[in-house]
């Protein structure tokens, strides 16, 4: 897994790439605070996530709630159809605000 964080104005885009499995989830949990820094609006870009395991899904939800608890607004962006199905079937999808494009993300966060 690869994590990149870019900040433009007050929007932080966290891009996750590759496999989000147990190992990746453990790493993300430790680094969550430092990845984002101080932000009010966060877009988690999952468009280059190739695999999301059960632990990965849990971590996403923990991250998402961590951001919300720290007064940030947050959306997930660019989830592949396959992952949308998996997240829907397992009941995870309903917890998130999900968008397809960056424009939608900015609109929803503004």
């Amino acid at each position: 897994m690869n994590v990149q964080s870019t900040k433009r104005k007050d929007v932080v885009v966290v891009s996750l790439k590759g496999r989000i499995d147990t190992t990746a989830a453990a790493r993300l949990r430790k680094e969550a605070a430092s990845i984002v820094g101080v932000a009010e609006r966060i877009v988690v870009d999952l468009s280059e996530v190739s695999y999301l395991s059960s632990a990965g899904m849990r971590l996403l939800l923990l991250l998402y709630r961590y951001f919300l608890a720290n007064s940030a607004r947050c959306v997930l962006m660019g989830i592949s159809d396959e992952l949308v199905r998996l997240m829907s079937h397992t009941g995870f999808l309903g917890f998130f605000k999900v968008v397809n494009t960056k424009e939608e993300a900015l609109q929803l966060l503004s």
Partner: protein
């Protein structure tokens, strides 16, 4: 940094760090840094844990339990730094091979944990397995931190339930279902609006514990195709939901998907009952495979003959030793798990009479297992339903050890109503019992002890009940020898599908008659999946191996049989609206509120003159709504299972009321069921009930303030 002061590696083996574990709880428990493994065997001489990387044939490592890791008869070990999602595990036991003494240890086998929360190996339904894998069903540890968001079991009153008996796969596997992942838990979630529209408030799922659909040996005699075990009454592990029933099964997330379904059903007021099969396991008799229990503690888990062979009270090769203290604990742990972790609302116990047998197979008056279940703290509000018989002749309908908690599948109700419906003489007196919640069987327990059904997965569908005289199970590959011969069915002149519109109409009417009686009877009604759409299995009354359109629900029938769907939903709604129909006390047949009418009064073609004779085929009854605290309207029902039309004299209703015909099964839709506001008041005091038809009248407040002339004439 560690989280706990008592949890750190003390041993190392082939790079794996571990320490002595905790003996309880059994199974694989996830800790902050590791996994605690615990398993029981009273007679093993040694044990090792075998770890695999997911789906790989060869193990990663096999770690023997050091002697000091055994506490009592429990082997326990905590292993650190395991990637849960990538690890599968099993155990290898050493011990005596001495069948006469009950021991069948086999060092060459790796066995599955009886407490495994997930079992991999059959992750996708119907995917042909790799038969060369020596350890095919593998235990997995799973995360259990599902967010229920406040959900809990619904605890509906038992007498308010309308149960829908459903096969997880069969409900949506048909291409006509139009769901994203046919045949799965997720697909049921998509179909919740359908269940709501039908009006049921409980689904009873055929077995969802992991089983191997490939364990059936029969072939379709015509095509030669392998027949799968579609029903799944063949448990591999009691704590593991079937992965192949989950769209997310290949991702190992079947537990989450099931929980998401339960949560969504609960949000819509629908309970979930599981059909659980504790009477036998998938290991068969002495010729069967060693999968788990046999290789762990054969003598504890199974009922054995003095020679060490398996008692077969289940008809499936073996019988679980349910009243052995260790097995009792396993079953209680299991039920508690499903209720506390998965919010299951109740259980239907397959061949539950096996659960009442002692360790020699003799029925007990006070079976410890059933007593424990009945008084268990966690299970105290969940529904307990017994299939109160077994395959060795123990038949306990009405006498199952119940501790005031258990309901029963009322097989006598099924047989009586079937015979009455098809026009058998001599049933009417028994029908009166059935309508009343079978007080002769459940006088002390109340009507809710009786789960009323006319069809279940086991036997004909409702449409087939009136389309076939004989079973047609040739496709099961057993020369039509399987399945029951006592179906009390009737084809009304032609075996199988009919092109004659009159015959079609008669069969449809018979189905409506059946559903009508079911919804008017005190007790808890259960409908078989698809009966509301006229589902047929082409006369197959034992479709356990028919994973194909023969047993799947065809959703296009919602259009072709909408009339039946509408009628069923209307009858369910009618039952819901009239509490008097489902009150949890038996009718007494007398007036005990001073209403001037008995709570139930039986009538014949002449009022006050029910014909209970041996040649009678009709019965009418009047249910007095004033016997409910809510003072409901009276209901009059005339059931004519004679082939010809009969005129029934209708008892008068109160001066300010008029009878309205709500149900008339001899009429085509929509007049088969009319809402009271659309129904015309009855003229006169007589109704003509068509042959093999039922009419239901409700006393509605008269639109006229004072009695009209018709009213006067009625009194």
């Amino acid at each position: 940094m560690d989280v706990r002061i008592d949890c750190y590696p003390t041993h190392e083996y082939a790079g794996y760090k571990f320490c002595r574990g905790r003996s309880l709880p059994f199974g694989a428990t996830i800790l902050p840094d590791g996994v605690n493994f615990s398993i029981y065997s009273s007679s093993a001489t040694s044990c090792s844990i075998v770890l695999f990387r997911r789906a790989e044939a060869e193990p990663l490592v096999e770690i023997p339990f050091p002697d000091e890791f055994r506490i009592g008869n429990v082997y326990c070990m905590t292993i650190f730094d395991l990637d849960l999602e990538e690890i599968e595990y099993g155990y290898r036991f050493d011990g005596p091979w001495d069948p006469a003494a009950g021991h069948r240890f086999d060092r060459s086998k790796i066995v599955c944990d009886p407490y495994a929360r997930a079992i991999s190996g059959r992750d996708q339904w119907g995917q042909p397995p790799d038969w060369s894998i020596s350890y095919p069903y593998r235990s997995r540890a799973v995360l259990n931190d599902f967010d229920w968001e406040g959900d809990s079991p619904l605890e509906h009153a038992f007498d308010d339930l309308v149960i829908y008996e459903m096969h997880v796969r069969g409900f949506t596997a048909h291409p006509s279902s139009g769901v994203s992942a046919p045949g799965t838990f997720a697909a049921i979630r998509e179909k919740i609006p359908y269940l709501k529209e039908l009006g049921v408030n409980c689904v009873e799922l055929l077995p969802i514990f992991e089983f191997d659909e490939w364990d059936n040996t029969h072939r379709n005699p015509e095509t030669g195709a392998t027949l799968l075990n579609y029903w799944g009454y063949s448990t591999l592990g009691f704590f593991a939901p079937k992965a192949g029933y989950a769209a997310a099964g290949t991702s190992g997330m079947q537990l989450e998907e099931l929980k998401a379904l339960i949560k969504a059903l609960h949000a819509e007021g629908i309970e979930v009952i599981l059909d659980v099969v504790f009477n036998h396991t998938a290991e068969g008799d002495h010729r069967g495979p060693t999968i788990s229990f046999r290789g762990i503690d054969n003598r504890a888990f199974y009922l054995l003959s003095p020679e060490g062979y398996y008692h077969n009270f289940s008809g499936c090769g073996n019988s679980v030793n349910c009243n052995h203290p260790v097995v009792r604990d396993l079953i209680i742990d299991c039920l508690r798990y499903w209720v506390s972790e998965c919010h299951i609302d109740g259980f239907r116990f397959d061949l539950a009479s096996v659960l009442s047998r002692d360790q020699n197979g003799v029925p007990l008056a006070n079976p410890p297992l059933l007593e424990s279940i009945s008084h268990d703290s966690v299970l105290s509000k969940c529904k307990l339903i017994a299939e109160a018989w077994d395959a060795a002749g123990l038949y306990q309908v009405g006498s199952f050890p119940n501790y005031g908690r258990w309901a029963e599948w009322n097989g006598k109700y099924r047989d009586c109503i079937r015979r009455f419906l098809r026009g058998d003489a001599g049933q009417v007196r028994h029908v009166a019992q059935c309508i009343s919640g079978s007080p002769e069987l459940y006088s002390r327990r109340g009507p809710a002890a009786s789960v009323n059904f006319i069809t279940s997965h086991d036997g004909f569908t409702l449409m087939d009940l009136f389309s076939y005289n004989e079973k047609h199970n040739e496709a099961n590959g057993e020369n039509n020898l399987d399945g029951s011969n006592d179906n009390y069915s009737c084809n009304f002149g032609q075996e199988g599908p009919a092109s004659d519109p009159q015959l079609q109409a008669l069969r449809l009417r018979m189905v409506k008659n059946a559903l009508c009686i079911l919804m008017l009877s005190r007790g808890v009604p259960m409908i078989l999946m698809g009966d509301e759409l006229g589902r047929t299995q082409s006369g197959n009354n034992n479709a356990y191996c028919q994973d194909n359109p023969l047993s799947w629900m065809d959703w296009s029938c919602l259009e072709t049989h909408y009339e039946l769907f509408r009628f069923t939903a209307a009858m369910i709604k009618f039952r819901a609206a009239h509490r008097v129909l489902r009150a949890n006390f038996h009718y007494r047949g007398c007036d005990w509120t001073g209403s001037g009418k008995p709570d139930i009064g039986f009538h014949g073609v002449k009022m006050f003159a029910p014909d209970f004779s041996e040649t009678s085929r009709s019965l009418a009854f009047l249910i007095c709504g004033a016997h409910m605290p809510t003072r409901e309207p009276d209901i009059y029902v005339a059931m004519n299972m004679h082939w010809d039309t009969l005129a029934f004299e209708v008892p008068p209703c109160a001066p300010c009321e008029r009878w309205k015909v709500i149900v008339n099964t001899s009429m085509p839709s929509p007049e088969d069921f009319l809402e009271p506001q659309h129904a015309a008041p009855l003229q006169g005091n007589q109704i003509i009930v068509g042959g093999r038809s039922i009419m239901v009248l409700v006393a509605c407040e008269s639109e006229f303030k004072s009695g009209s002339s018709e009213h006067v004439s009625k009194n």
